[in-house]
Amino acid sequence: MVETIYTDLLCLGAGLAGERVAIEAAGAGFDVICLSIVHSKRSHSSAAQGGMQAALGNSVMGEGDSPDIHFQDTVKGSDWGCDQEVARIFVDTAPIVMRELAYWGVPWNRVVGGKGSYYKGGQKFEKVEDAAKEGLITSRNFGGTAKWRTCYTSDGTGHAVLYTMDNRATQMGVKVHDRIEAIAMIHDGETCQGVVARCLRTGKLRVYLAKATLVATGGYGRIYKNTTNAVICEGGGQSIALDTGLVPLGNMEAIQFHPTGIVPTDILVTEGCRGDGGTLLDKNEDRFMPQYEPEKAELASRDVVSRRMIEHIRKGFGVKNSYGDDNLWLDIRHLGEAHIRTKLREVDEICQNFLGIDPLHQLIPVRPTHHYSMGGVRTNKDGAAYGLKGLFAAGEAACWDLHGFNRLGGNSLAETVVAGKIIGGKVVEYLKGASVTFNTAIVDGFIKKEQARISALIHGSGKENVFELRTMMQDALMAGVGIFRNEKDLEKAVRTIQEVQERAKNIGLKSNGLGANPELGLALKLPGMVRLAQCVAYGALQRRESRGCHAREDYPARNDRDWLTRTLATWDEGADLPTLNYEAATPTFELPPGERGYGGGKIISADESEA
């Protein structure tokens, strides 16, 4: 007998997006359960360091800021890949949400009136904060923005906001079931009705049936070998949505590489380091970004900075390290002890703990590394997923689509809570009108299918090693679907992932699979991860242009004539490749396609006729 639990709203994930939606629904009187594979306060939102963009304009360097300027920065950052209606809703709502978080208890850093100094490009400058703004939420500088707009709590913003949010959720009566992992989505072909889940304490299966289900499981960075992402970021939610064969994933090829992962562990050090005046240096300890990006330098968008770093390394300016590759240096020494030990204390700790260096006196070895997934479960502007009624998605798990082909630093952490509030409101509207009939035969069918998978893994004759297959998939993406891409390497990645997919049908466990067995856990997940990996690789192969983070060496121009589109990937049962469709990137153009102002590169305009 499989335990069955009913609720109004089921949130898959209890990070910032999931809990923010949950709070909205609980506030409206609905019963809400969040599933989380870890204690909710360990969700990967907690690792976000830098901050949240919102055009409050309180700090002197943010003076004159407005949602309009935030909107322009976001659309340019996305390389015109985002949905402009969504970007507009987001920038208009963000300031209110930051204030709401302050009301709930987030210890935002505040404006300190009077004279102060700041660094830009290694130089010290003076600034005078308006005494009349003393005590309001302040902001720091981030890449690709015209103003200082990123609200922060030291460099532990994600941690501070998640702790406040999780406690608020507890206060509102949101139930969190932790160490529970959804492994299949229950649906009748039209409506999503909940999930089959596996308990990560006992290994037992459980069914959750709900009027509405939200995917808020974060990113899927662990399909890559090297990533800043936590080990839990395996795309569980996207993967079970894709498995329905009905729900499309948007822009899976849009993968962000962050300029400053430390070597060799790929742990992130925040963009705030550069925002606060840190610089990138090469093997001669020369600052090189201004020669590539005269205006924005280290603070161009992440896709651009990462590409310029690789370009510079390819010219022979990288620092050879003992791990067999090249890195560059991040220099924050000049920011001084008071700043590093208070505003960048997480960075300080990471440097001391994982590199054994003191960033006050030593350079930080960095390289661009996988960081963020712009793609995810495609939703409309209300957060409702395409393909199934009663299914919603928010945060990194979703393709809402605020970020297009490159998200700005500080926009994703803000997205979790801003989208959470907006989509939470839409979920409440949906729940008010929803009644759902659960068909036990359909539910049993889904349970039996999962029981059969588990039984085959434990008792079957499969011989493939799940860890080796995972490594093969991760290496294929590293080799073929990195910062620079081309047809030959992409084709090879697609073929390798097809091979992994085939071999994954024959996984055999080496252990007994009893209880919260980690080998079984991975064996259940891996086929889904492989399908996500293929959506990334195949989507990248088919997109014959360069846009934002998707840089094709064989198609270097941004092609607005043919590719001002969003990729939609669905997966038919038994197929070895996704089915790709395309839709217009945005229903309306508040800001017509143009130059970003950084990054260089050619543009084939929408008006150009075919050559």
């Binding site: 204690h39 360990r42 208890g105 005590g135």
Partner: protein, 249 residues
């Protein structure tokens, strides 16, 4: 870097009727910049895929991987093998319920703790979306964040003498959380409200002052100061209250 490490690991899977608690040893070659995150994942992938342990951010940020490392609770992800002898003994955190091997259930305990101490701002004010945010001094914000940096890893409870003797003890994590809200001007709770939660042996008066918590906190939170501060504050409140009760009698 030519050391062979011997990793002695506590093994027990409560879900397996054939499993009994025992120690198991693994051997692994040390590599450069090796952490226990690398060690344990290599053991799982190369030697024993049934081995249960918890990691999440692997960057010392999320608090998931606390365990007892050569007798001392700490985060495994940031523990470098070069700082340890070649014999390494790993045990699950005591105090919390065992899930299996090195994995313990901190989530349930911390969720209950947060409910018990009502770990949120208590205010009569309504949020006004049209209004400017309430102002706060930046120094106050930084002081709150200093205490807000707790990652709920559980090391302080694993190292706590009182927690070993009474399982209803709130421990340094909860007391630090209370101290965080005492500092916060947005929280309208008064001394008597806090006293109701922690003015007892489950709370601040259960602390014996051994301060193992301060010694092992991986985030270097100023726990000793907070415990001292709360003890004094709650003690004075109790005395005052005792006197006023006598007067009214």
């Amino acid at each position: 870097m030519d050391r062979m490490l011997t990793i002695h690991v506590f093994r027990y899977n409560p879900q397996d009727p054939d499993s009994t608690p025992h120690m198991q040893s693994y051997y692994i070659d040390e590599t450069e910049s090796m952490t226990l995150f690398i060690v344990l994942n290599r053991i799982r992938e190369e030697q024993d895929p049934s081995l249960q342990f918890d990691f999440c951010c692997r960057a010392g940020i999320c608090g998931q991987c606390a365990m007892v490392i050569n007798g001392r609770p700490n985060l495994a992800c940031k523990t470098k093998t070069k700082d340890l002898p070649s014999q390494i003994t790993l045990l699950p955190l005591p105090f919390f319920k065992l899930i299996g091997d090195l994995s313990v259930d901190t989530g349930t305990w911390f969720r209950e703790m947060n409910t018990r101490v009502e770990s949120w701002i208590h205010t009569q004010k309504e949020f006004d979306p049209a209004a400017e945010e309430e102002r706060m001094d930046n120094d106050t914000a930084e002081k709150i964040y200093e205490l807000d940096r707790c990652v709920e890893c559980g090391c302080c409870l694993a190292a706590c003498g009182t927690a070993r003797m009474r399982e209803d003890f709130l421990g340094a994590a909860a007391l630090n959380r209370i101290a965080r809200f005492v500092l916060d001007p947005r929280d309208q709770r008064q001394e008597k409200d806090f006293f109701e939660i922690i003015g007892n042996d489950q709370g601040i008066f259960g602390c014996m002052g051994l301060l193992g918590c301060e010694d092992v906190c991986p985030k270097n939170l100023p726990l000793q100061d907070q415990l001292g501060y709360l003890r004094r504050k709650m003690g004075i409140y109790a005395l005052k209250n005792l006197r006023s009760t006598k007067k009214t009698c």
